[in-house]
């Protein structure tokens, strides 16, 4: 989630002086760029063919509480500058190369960003731009040389261009100001976490609220000019419990919002906290799961997480230039079937809501300054294209407005299915598959851990064990709510401690049917929140691994507040 724009008329003249400050950033950028593009040149080396400047002004508030008391109350306001200087040409340029040969295949050394003055001060801004441009130019010279050396020693078939040609975009939005009533929210978080005081089974619990206003300025030598203002809020409630045999359980609930008003009310949050505690308490006394291989129904949030964790990472691309030349990514697999025929996958950064609920992957322009485009990634199960930035692949030459996080990223993902069953029919189909396999029980996953940070240390260990048992570089975090279902009569029993193992892309092709319960879910994509609109999914074969035998012991003493 990044953008919040109250109206799409950003280019119009509605920009009032009260919301848009006297902008010293663009004048300084323009002046330094003009001078650099014409005169920045070292003898015996080329002058830059491209310069791009990005300034981010980020104002954020972070609040946290546990057990009725505040643990975090901080505010941060800073600015960063990234300078992208490229020498060479669109076909072969200096970007992402490096001076050390050993670095070539490691993660991309992006041009990086440095913190700059928060004052709207032309002189300070110019000076930062000057020094960063100079450093980036020198790095570009080394980058291009190392690429040329590599190409002298290696042959690279059908080498893709370094940078795509695009038409310039100018979008000027008003800047956003962070709005947050910290006193009220501090009180809310205290109140919310105080509810855990009546829960001796819950070992620890937290609630936090992060609020952010991010304004960014982008200018490049091709005529792109963007000023984008965005706001984001995120409230999180999490809790951890431990069963008598020492097994850890943790879960969290995310409440993203574009405005402070859209955040849930305290009473609603308390209800969620209660549900969270109930869930963890039930889990702590549930029986342990056994090794299993067979059909699994991923219901609701679990279905969305399945697509988010297994499919989504494959639909976007890392920024590394040299790795791309090795031809190992999904762009080489266009035209291949990766899902059953009845599923289409669409990515639409322009969508703001689904079924009246906000979508958090919305943006107007991407980090390259291009308009986000709605694209069909998978059609009738066949991979058609990928989310693209301005870094071309052998098979895709142009950006589709998905340049994010130094590479490309998904925005709002829509899973569209032609084979939709009602909840009853889906469960019946699950039992039928179980019967065919001669199984006594099958499984339904109703909730899957959404993020590694939710995992406790010991959970993380067993997750890695299960992950290492597979080999495909695809993973699925452990289920939180996993139910064993009797094939004979359909009765359900909550189980604990399972891990998915041997997860691969194959899982997606084994999708048997989907539900008719399409809903929007917020998911954590790196450090940002995006959305996925997905139905429940029935997969014909999934492996579940039983929990580890070793666990850290419970605390020796009771929580002092329950030690009466």
């Amino acid at each position: 989630m990044k953008a919040l724009i109250s109206s799409l008329l950003a280019l119009s003249a509605v920009v009032s002086p009260s919301t848009t400050p006297t902008d010293q950033i663009f004048p300084a950028m323009k002046d330094e760029m003009a001078r650099s593009i014409s005169r920045l040149k070292l003898e015996s080396h080329q002058a830059p063919y491209y310069i791009g400047y990005t300034v981010h002004d980020t104002d954020s508030v972070s609040l946290g509480a546990t057990f009725g008391a505040l643990t975090d109350d901080s505010r941060d306001h800073g600015r960063t500058l990234s300078v992208d200087v490229r020498i060479g040409d669109y076909k072969l340029d200096s970007a992402s190369g490096s001076s050390e040969a050993g670095d070539i295949f490691s993660s991309p050394r992006f041009f990086g960003s440095s913190s700059i003055s928060v004052d709207d001060n032309y002189d300070t801004m110019r000076r930062e731009l000057w020094l960063r441009t100079d450093a980036a130019y020198k790095q570009a010279i080394e980058g291009l040389e190392s690429k040329k050396t590599y190409l002298k020693q290696n042959t690279v078939e059908d080498r893709p261009d370094s940078f795509s040609h695009e038409t310039s975009v100018v979008t000027l939005q008003p800047t956003e100001i962070l709005e947050i009533d910290t006193t009220k929210w501090a009180a809310n978080l205290r109140d919310l976490t105080a509810t855990f005081k009546s829960r001796p089974m819950i070992r620890s619990s937290q609630a936090s609220l992060a609020a952010l206003a991010d304004n960014h300025w982008f200018l490049n030598s091709e005529g792109f000019q963007n000023r984008i203002g965005e706001k984001a809020y995120m409230l999180t409630i999490s809790a951890q419990a431990q069963s008598a045999d020492g097994m850890h359980f943790s879960d969290q609930e995310l409440f993203p919002a574009y405005t402070e008003k859209e955040l849930p009310k305290l009473e609603e949050l308390k209800k969620h906290a209660t549900d969270l505690c109930d869930r963890l308490e039930k889990l702590a006394s549930a029986p342990k799961v056994d090794d299993y291989r067979g059909p699994v129904l991923f219901e609701g949030q679990a279905g969305a997480q399945l697509f988010h964790q297994v499919l989504e990472p494959k639909l976007a691309r890392s920024a590394s230039d040299m790795r791309r030349m090795l031809g190992t990514d999904m762009s080489e697999k266009l035209g291949q079937r990766i899902l059953p025929k009845f599923i289409d996958v669409v990515d639409d950064p322009n969508a703001k809501t689904y079924d009246g609920k906000p979508l958090f992957g919305y943006y107007e322009v991407d980090e390259d300054g291009l308009k986000g485009q709605k694209i069909t990634l998978v059609e009738k199960g066949i991979l058609k294209t990928l989310c693209m930035s301005r870094i071309p692949t052998r098979t895709i030459a142009r950006s589709n407005g998905h340049g994010k996080r130094s590479g490309s990223a998904t925005s709002n993902i829509f899973i569209n299915s032609d084979h939709k069953l009602s909840a009853e029919a889906l469960k019946a189909r699950l039992l039928e598959l179980g019967k065919e396999e001669g199984l006594k029980d099958v499984y339904i996953a109703r909730r899957i851990t959404g993020n590694a940070s939710d995992l406790d240390f010991s959970n993380l260990q067993s997750f890695f064990k299960a992950f290492m048992s597979g080999s495909s570089g695809v993973s699925l975090y452990p289920p939180v709510l996993l139910y064993k279902v009797s094939v004979a009569d359909g009765t359900e029993q909550l189980m604990r401690g399972g891990n998915f193992s041997n997860i691969s892309m194959r899982l997606l092709r084994d999708i048997d049917a989907t539900g008719n319960d399409v809903k929007a879910y917020a998911v954590q994509n790196s450090r940002e929140i995006t959305s996925i609109v997905s139905p429940s999914v029935l997969v014909s074969e999934v492996e579940i691994q039983k929990p580890d035998k070793t666990n850290t012991k419970s605390p020796i003493l009771k929580n002092p507040n329950f030690d009466k």
């Binding site: 004048p27 330094e32 003009a34 920045l40 057990f67 643990t71 306001h77 002189d123």
Partner: protein, 618 residues
């Protein structure tokens, strides 16, 4: 928008201000919560069967409010309100004072980490239930780690030969009870922001300075310490700091830089704006001078370490090697371990470390405190008396012949305290005026038949390696070094000098001292984190000092001149095909936005002058 942003920030600040100040009543909640949980844990964990005996438990909680303002070239670089943080350290000792879980395991045995500590946040509110919950979680983790460590210690002792020093692991000390007077931190944020903008803008008149910064910080730390022995300490420490740093690139690519700053315990100890401006100007001018100075060459010969440099020199080559715990750590070089009663430096030199000394003249000392982080009252430690080694800096880890602490156990919030320097003071019974010392240097140059001698007048700090597997050497980072010629030629500034040597020989070669004692206030980093320290010394004449050329960076100076000194590029008005293209698109863009005039050099300078005048008239 600026106005609006300021308003929101001010309201946040307002809210925060309510929680600081000397409110003893609410703070007692913290101390009481700590005492209650400590008593419960100590009593109940003791009874756990089959485990090693819990004999000592301590909670240290540090509550810190801090403000940091930085500026660069006339603009503020961050905009953060005051921050409030709490850090907790739990010390658990199981076994017995003779041998416990903290005993050093030889052969690289790592002590168990407390991985829970990163997950349980510490409440900032003075809320007993929440504080005790955190203390309980952390105590449990620390206790389990201590049990695991203790088993390792016992196993390690069984498989290794006896240690050279079989002193106890923990000394017996009388419990201390001390509730200090609350101290207020008093920062006028707007005033300091304004000051920093002005100070950092001074660098605008020095064209060869590449990057520069001025930073002001203030912090107030309230320390709560309770132990199972009955020690109870609650006190405040306030620290103000302002410093500037600037660098430049010499024509051969070498980066030269200088630093200057002031650390002070009260606001009134801080220099006024006029003095601060002079400090910044001096740094700027000195960096410019250094940039064009001669590059150093390897050299060994006589030198004067001016007072502050001499303090740093002693801190590195002597102070770190005299820390008690290093004397029994078999992984350490233990340079001075067996030299008690022996002559380790000229008989006119005496060295003490006295944390109880608050000031020298009107200069506040950074290493001043009443109780160390183990709750032991600070004591003056005599280290060298008339050249003879007399003692060490001691924490509660005894060593052969020294069974007790002398109140030097310190650490940064959250770190296990170890023996650290406080106010290291070098005294000489043989003193001459500085001018005479300089004459003595020239005489020594002639006597040794050297082409020149050296004078070190600025040192940024240094590092020293005390571990046995590293060479027992030190390296100091002198910023300004002068060549002094015996034939009366003017002194010559050098750049790129590194000072190298081995500790014992350096100390034996001190020839004399001046009468110009000065204080180096700084922050010293070691295994227990960063602690404030002072080093006090007169200028010293040393028979032989060895210097080498430092590694130079290869960066060329910037290709284009600084934007404000570029006659052609002031507002990008040069003609170029690429630029025309840019301008076309930009003109279109500008139509939609409120266009502002680029703040010209003249305008901002005029503004500065006006502000300066206003400042002066106050």
């Amino acid at each position: 928008m600026i106005a609006k942003r300021l308003c929101t920030l001010l309201s946040v600040l307002g809210a925060l201000t309510l929680t600081i100040g000397p409110s003893n009543a609410s703070d007692d909640v913290v101390l009481h919560a700590m005492q209650k949980e400590l008593n419960r844990s100590f009593t109940k964990l003791k009874k756990d069967d089959g485990e090693a005996n819990l004999y000592f438990l301590a909670y240290r909680l540090y509550d810190t409010h801090s403000i940091e303002i930085s500026a660069d070239y006339g603009g503020l670089t961050s905009d953060k309100p005051e921050s409030h943080k709490r850090v907790l350290d739990i010390e658990v000792r199981v076994g017995s004072p003779k041998i416990d879980n903290t005993h050093q395991t030889r052969g690289g045995g790592l002590h168990s980490g407390d991985f829970m500590s990163s997950r349980t946040a510490i409440p900032l509110d003075d809320d007993e239930a929440a504080l005790r919950t955190t203390l309980w979680e952390r105590t449990d983790a620390a206790y389990k780690a201590a049990q695991a460590d203790y088993q390792k210690v016992l196993t390690n002792r069984d498989v290794r030969i006896a240690e050279e020093d079989n002193s106890d692991d923990f000394s017996k000390e009388k419990p201390s009870v001390y509730i200090g007077k609350p101290i207020e931190m008093d920062v006028d944020r707007t005033l300091w922001e304004d000051r920093l903008r002005k100070l950092s803008a001074i660098y605008k008149s020095y064209p060869n300075i590449k990057s520069s910064m001025v930073r002001f910080s203030a912090s107030k730390t309230r320390r709560y310490l309770v132990t199972s022995e009955g020690t109870t300490i609650e006190d405040d420490r306030v620290q103000y700091r302002i410093y500037t740093i600037a660098d430049a690139t010499a024509d051969d690519g070498m980066r030269v830089w200088l630093y200057d700053g002031v650390e002070a315990p009260t606001r009134t100890d801080l220099p006024d704006q006029e003095k601060l401006e002079a400090m910044v100007r001096k740094v700027a001018a000195s960096v410019e001078a250094l940039r064009v100075a001669k590059a150093a060459e390897p050299f060994a010969g006589p030198a004067i370490l001016q007072a502050k440099s001499a303090g740093v020199y002693f801190h590195e080559i002597f102070g770190h090697r005299i820390e008690g715990h290093r004397q029994k750590d078999e992984g350490e070089g233990r340079t001075f371990t067996k030299l008690i009663g022996k002559e380790v430096m000229p008989t006119f030199i005496t060295v003490v470390d006295d944390p109880l000394k608050e000031r020298i003249g009107n200069k506040a000392l950074n290493g001043y405190y009443l109780y160390d982080d183990e709750g032991v009252p600070a004591q003056k430690a005599v280290l060298v008396d008339k050249g003879i080694l007399k003692g060490y800096l001691m924490e509660r880890s005894p060593i052969k012949g020294f069974p007790n602490s002398n109140g030097h156990g310190r650490g940064s919030p959250g770190s296990k305290p170890v023996a650290r320097q406080a106010n290291l003071t070098v005294d000489s019974s043989k003193r001459v005026p500085y001018a005479t010392l300089r004459e003595q240097l020239i005489a020594e140059v002639k006597r040794q038949g050297k082409p020149y001698g050296l004078v070190f007048d600025e040192i940024a700090g240094g590092f020293t390696m005390t571990q046995a597997f590293m060479p027992q050497v030190f390296k100091l980072k002198p910023l300004r070094v002068w060549r002094v010629y015996p034939d009366g030629r003017p002194d010559e500034l050098l750049r790129g000098v590194d000072l190298v040597g081995t500790p014992l020989t350096s100390l034996e070669r001190i020839l004399g001292a001046a009468d110009d004692d000065d204080v180096f206030n700084g922050t010293c980093g070691a295994e227990s984190g960063w602690v404030p320290v002072s080093a006090i010394s007169p200028s010293l004449l040393v028979q032989t000092i060895e210097v080498e050329r430092n590694i130079k960076e290869q960066d060329k100076p910037p290709v284009l001149p600084p934007p404000d000194r570029d006659p052609q590029g002031k507002s990008g008005k040069s003609s170029n095909a690429a630029e025309t293209k840019v301008d076309a698109a930009q003109n279109k863009a500008d139509a939609a936005e409120t266009k502002t005039e680029p703040a010209g050099d003249k305008k901002s300078k005029a503004g500065d002058k006006k502000n300066q005048a206003a400042e002066e008239s106050k």
